[in-house]
């Protein structure tokens, strides 16, 4: 090893190959990162292109407004669209209040302790439970034990449970971003902890919580396994009239058409068309939530 000359600037003493090598390494890694980021966009683009190419012919007014006919080889998918909407909204109506309340407890009230660690462990593991297990649980608990039958209610409860960890996680993150100084300012003005949470903390965290709700609803809308035992049926041409009715749903309909239908090959366009509708529905819900979030942010003066 050569001794470095303390008087010379360090840049003059760096070996030229070393400089070149560093630059090369940097270029390679940046390219890799960029490629990784591009994969995301490309994957989505390919999926959309594929669905559009194969499915656009199936989309027409009848398809969107009529029930299936002729052993589901013709007609529309209206009951499935309605079913998925009900299930998603039901799931979010159940999991959003419970999720937000849990996150508030964990982040604002609970100290550190063994009970808290166990609850956290529970939430993390809930997130890792496979969706088909949720489906079986829903069947055993809501459908059979609580005698709800195969119904919107049982399906929404099952999907709600499934999206709970996502919502708790997002809400906790959102609550953590609310500066401690806001809480101190509020308490310092004689507000109670509850007032502080409802008047300052939650409004500040709402955009972030909504992001969690978006993720939750997206996941719930597209799930097949949790609803196939609890809410969805093979075929029912009638729209539901109560929360105890069984329904058709888009993901399950796709599954049925492509694996158990009477004419799997002949209904390919219907399968792609249904998938396209499902994707558009989920995007639509996301878009609505994103717009709401943007409006909240604006109103909050952030």
């Amino acid at each position: 090893m050569t001794k470095t000359d303390v008087k010379k600037p360090i840049t003059e003493q760096l070996a030229l190959p070393h400089i070149k090598y560093r630059k090369f390494k940097q270029t390679i890694f940046f390219a890799l990162f960029r490629f990784a980021a591009l994969i995301n966009g490309t994957a989505l683009a390919i999926i959309l292109f594929f669905l559009l190419k194969n499915g656009y012919k199936a989309i027409n007014w009848t398809f969107l407004t009529q029930p299936p006919i002729d052993s589901m080889t013709k007609g529309g998918i209206l009951p499935c669209i309605v079913g998925t909407l009900y299930l998603s909204l039901g799931a979010i109506a159940i999991s959003l209040p419970i999720g937000i309340a849990s996150a508030i407890y964990l982040n604002e009230y609970a100290g550190s302790g063994r009970v808290l660690r166990i609850i956290r462990l529970g939430i993390n593991n809930l997130a890792g439970v496979p969706s088909v297990v949720f489906g079986l649980f829903g069947l055993a608990f809501f459908v059979i034990y609580l005698k709800m039958g195969v119904s919107i209610l049982a399906g929404a409860l099952t999907l709600g449970l499934l999206s709970l960890p996502v919502i708790i996680g997002a809400t906790e993150e959102a609550l953590k971003t609310v500066p401690e100084t806001y809480r101190e300012a509020s308490l310092g003005l004689g507000a109670t902890k509850l007032q502080t949470i409802f008047r300052v903390v939650l409004p500040c965290a709402m955009p972030g919580i909504l992001t969690g709700a978006i993720l939750g609803i997206s996941r719930a809308a597209g799930e097949t396994a949790p609803i196939m035992f609890t809410a969805a049926v093979f075929f029912t041409p009638d729209l539901p009239s109560s929360i105890f009715d069984e329904i058709m749903a888009l993901p399950y309909h796709i599954y049925v058409l492509s694996t158990a239908g009477t004419e799997i090959e002949a209904t390919r366009p219907l399968q792609y068309g249904t998938s396209l509708v499902l994707i558009v529905l989920v995007f639509g819900m996301n878009l609505a939530a994103i717009l709401l979030r943007a409006r909240l942010r604006k109103r909050m003066h952030i």
Partner: protein, 253 residues
């Protein structure tokens, strides 16, 4: 001291878990006077200030011994409602921390959480408080705009207005000007001068010139202990202890 005794701290000890942050502090605060708490970083002056409105209750594993009397009643008595106490003892923080709400809503906040619903009363109190905080003329045309659009100095005066709106008896200020430029600092100091007629003010400051300018009484803290307290003039010109003299002349700390 011939003035009215407002708050009285008696043999206060404060612990963060096992660490003793404040040791045996006894200090009186007088109505209509500004008391400055000075001392090097980590000497416990902010901790002490936060004991006075029980803000330290929020810190897990912290513990208080001794008594703090507000109008002869112990604020750490278990019958005391902490929220009510804090509406009697207002606080202004080191960094301006207006809520992400409108200017109006910031000042109205304390009134609303304390159960005041009368709209004209709220509007009147908001105007009055913004006036008291010498901010009204600058914001009167935009009180429904976001408070976050104000400059740092204006934000801090808004925080003072917010504290004034609920008519506290004591105002605690934790280095209220340390994040501000000299002109904004001067405005805050003038404001303190105006406000001391109506409130008991206790201010923590790093800046000894500021302590000398704004306060009537100064207390010097060092390593969790109250070293010396006296009238500000006396403390800065003829300190009794060498330690105090070393600090105020800048020989340490």
């Amino acid at each position: 001291m011939d003035a009215d005794l407002k708050m009285s701290v008696k043999q206060l000890n404060f612990f963060y878990d096992k660490f003793k942050a404040l040791e045996n502090i006894s200090l009186d605060f007088y109505a209509g006077h500004v008391t400055a708490l000075i001392g090097p970083s980590g000497c416990g002056k902010s901790t002490f200030l936060r004991c006075l409105n029980r803000m330290n209750d929020l810190i897990p594993k912290s513990r208080v011994e001794g008594k703090i009397l507000l109008d002869n009643e112990d604020i750490y008595d278990c019958a005391v409602n902490v929220a009510t106490l804090r509406s009697r003892i207002g606080m202004v923080f080191q960094k301006p921390n207006p809520f992400p709400k409108t200017i109006f809503e910031n000042v109205a906040y304390g009134l609303r959480v304390n159960g005041i619903k009368d709209k004209t009363l709220i509007a009147d109190r908001v105007t009055e408080s913004l006036n008291q905080a010498a901010l009204w003329d600058e914001v009167k045309d935009r009180i429904y705009d976001s408070a976050l659009e104000l400059s740092g100095g204006q934000q801090q005066r808004l925080c003072i207005a917010r504290a004034l709106a609920i008519k506290p008896e004591v105002i605690l200020m934790d280095e209220p000007a340390s994040a501000l430029d000299p002109i904004a600092t001067q405005k805050i100091e003038e404001l303190i001068h105006q406000l001391k007629k109506m409130f008991t003010i206790i201010i923590v400051t790093h800046n000894m010139q500021q302590a000398a300018r704004v306060s009537d009484i100064t207390a010097f803290f060092y390593m969790g202990k109250l070293i010396e307290t006296d009238k500000t003039d006396t403390l800065f010109t003829r300190p009794k202890l060498k330690q105090t003299e070393d600090y105020i002349t800048g020989r340490f700390g």
